[in-house]
């Protein structure tokens, strides 16, 4: 019988895998495990995280990750590196949004002063470090560089939880709007008709006046300056946005939805699935992580006190055994309730999306924070390619 494995064939040919899904289900861990698998298939892989938290470093067993690609030494981290690795390499990086924006501005600045002017602007400073929203765009920019850079065969992109990830999918167009020509015109006086007639008729001036009333002169002035200083970025961003749109729609790009079996998270995953559809994308695999294995309350009828005694040996104290047996029954019965809930949720999902797309990964007793653990976890993701050591 062929092993059920929707993921391995995709990993072999993909150039980009996007891992998305609800919060805390294991997207980052899964992205790292997928990257490891692909590297062991002989591919040059980079896992890119746009999660502001530092989980990717942690699941790779590293202290920290920087804004630069960092190679994970497999030989150093694994007891034995499987033969299949060949030319394969595993790299990782975490997005530092401020650095990325700075790099972008430096790269496109028409004169050396432009970067300094940008840095002096209030809006720029806040936008690049404190305020979110630009982060997703910056990630796509990095993605673009890695994807087109030529070194990596595969980029695995980890995303923040659902709501943000949706934002992120909409980002190419959104970044273009941010620097939309029309808006720039309203804020940059030199580009507007200066005649009185023009000013009255220009809807922009009305809007600007209104925004000044609401947000204050200083803010609107900073904002105008911001647009003026960064005008040169607009062209660059717009063409990148289109390019990224194109990458996201490529045949070798695959979207994986990661979820847990928790009913509410399942609902969110489905919501995500639908949303992907609306954006003319499609989820090609569903990873259901942290599934409680098939524990059934009925097992307790067999694993009763008499059986436990048999395993413990004749000299085990009866009272202690009775106590243990009753405690185990209670705990196992509770666990079986969660297992049943997970099973029902999985069946429900299978009815909606079909079992072909689903791969389940069991709940482990420990967090995943070493390459060894990642390797054993990843075995569940691509069961048709067991790692031969």
């Amino acid at each position: 019988m062929k092993t059920h494995d929707p993921i391995a064939p995709l990993l072999e040919g993909a150039r980009l895998v996007v891992c998305c899904g609800p919060g805390g289900v294991g997207k980052t861990t899964t992205a790292a495990a997928l990257g490891l698998r692909a590297a062991l298939m002989g591919r040059k892989v980079i896992v890119l995280t746009i999660d502001p938290a530092r989980r990717l470093a942690n699941s790779l067993g590293l202290e920290e990750l920087s804004n630069q690609p960092q190679r994970i030494d497999l030989a150093e981290n694994l007891e034995t590196v499987p033969e299949s690795v060949g030319e394969g390499e595993l790299w990782a990086m975490m997005l530092d949004q401020k650095k990325t924006l700075d790099d972008l501005v430096k790269k496109h600045a028409p004169d050396p002063g432009a970067f300094e002017r940008a840095q002096a602007n209030n809006i720029y400073r806040l936008l690049s470090s404190t305020l979110h929203g630009m982060q997703e765009y910056m990630a796509l920019d990095k993605l673009h560089d890695l994807y087109t850079g030529g070194y990596f065969d595969l980029v695995v992109l980890d995303t923040p939880p659902t709501k943000n990830a949706l934002e992120f999918l909409e980002t190419p167009t959104r970044a273009a709007t941010f620097f939309d020509e029309r808006i720039i015109k309203w804020f940059i006086p030199s580009r507007r008709s200066r005649s009185l007639f023009g000013r009255v008729l220009d809807p922009g001036s009305v809007v600007q006046k209104l925004l000044k009333t609401i947000f204050g002169e200083a803010f609107v002035k900073d904002l105008s300056e911001f647009f003026e200083t960064l005008e040169f970025l607009q062209q660059a961003l717009q063409s990148r946005g289109e390019m990224i749109d194109y990458i996201l729609r490529d045949e070798q790009t695959h979207f994986f939805v990661i979820t847990s079996a928790d009913p509410r998270r399942m609902k969110e995953a489905l919501f995500f699935h639908e949303k992907l559809g609306e954006l003319s994308q499609k989820a090609e695999a569903f990873v259901i992580n942290r599934v409680i294995p098939n524990f059934e309350a009925a097992d307790l009828e067999v694993a009763n006190e008499a059986r436990l005694k048999e395993f413990a040996g004749e000299d085990a104290p009866d009272e202690e055994l009775a106590a243990l047996s009753s405690e185990l029954s209670k705990a196992y019965e509770a666990l079986s309730r969660l297992a049943r809930r997970d099973r029902d949720a999985l069946e429900g999902l299978a009815r909606k999306i079909g079992p072909e797309l689903m791969q389940r990964v069991p709940m482990l007793g420990q967090d995943v924070h070493s390459i060894e653990q990642l390797l054993s976890l990843s075995g569940y993701l691509t069961p048709s390619r067991p790692v031969e050591l």
Binding site: P22, G23, G24, D51, P52, A53, R55, N58, L126, L131, H132, G133, P161, K163, T177, D180, R182, I183, W186, P203, V207, L210, T213, I214, F215, G216, E217, A218, F219, D222, S260, P263, R264, R265, F271, P293, F295, E296, A298, D299, L300, V302, A303, F311, A312, A316, E320, L321, A323, L324, E327, K330, A331, Y332, R337, R341, G365, Q366, D367, H369
Partner: protein
Amino acid sequence: MMEQLESKRLIFVTGKGGVGKSTVTAAIASALARRGKRVLAVETDTYSALADLLDVKLLEGAPAMVERGLWATNVRAEDALVHTIRQFVPSDRVSRAVIHNRVARVFFKAAPSVNEFSILNKVMALRDEGDSPSTRWDHIVVDLPASGHAVTFLGVPRTLNGMMRVGGFAKMAGKIASEIEDPSKVAVVAAALPEEMPVKETIELGQQLEETVRRGLTMVLLNMMHEAPFAPEREALFDRVRAGAASASTPGIEVERVMEGSALAWEWYERDLKYAKVLKDAVDCPVLELPMFYEADGASVVDRVSAYLNGERDPGGELAS
């Protein structure tokens, strides 16, 4: 522990994705309501969790009543924006016209933090409405977005205030900022799990909060602490039984599963203990542990947590139910 929250009218709940923020929000709100308070639970997401967790149909534009003393509502970014702009223009109609203006729309969508600010502003307005005890909220409990962002979320008023410096909006932002920064007025509760990264992140959250809004966490609710599957003094006996089962020629799948499940539950128990200690050693606010409740649906979990918060301990209850 509830006393800490009873003295705050505004309670923000934050934490990483999936740690139980929405559950804890609903449970705190319901626990306060069961203490005779008039409470509003607020979520700001487009994806509504409170409706499921409190088993209520949320209404457009008005709080929905859940039970005696408890209401729930979803503050949507767009309505909050209308409300905020309304404070600068003569009427609701003009406010709507502004945000529906093609140009301004693009601006609001693209301009950083305007949405987050509007939501906070709306929450403050909800707190200030009502002039008699029967229309006034004693507590508003807010389910904030996941934590990497929560710090920036709560820091938005201060940021905007700094950016705008003068004018009506700057003043408004400054006022909201100083309220958020006052730990005697506003509670910030972090929900966390007893696992390595969530604990690390909660510790970091506390530090970032100090840096950004110059205040600390009010308390941490350490959620889903697993019970031990057997008394710790019987660990050796369990190991013996398990080893015996493993070496038996045909232990049977049922026995294998019971052993595996119990071993898993023991691992969780040990891990939880370990990280609870790490957390308690690192933060200087109170840490309240909430047990893992083996319930199949979210609303029942909320009920159990709510009762637990109000001190109803039910020894063995989570296993017996």
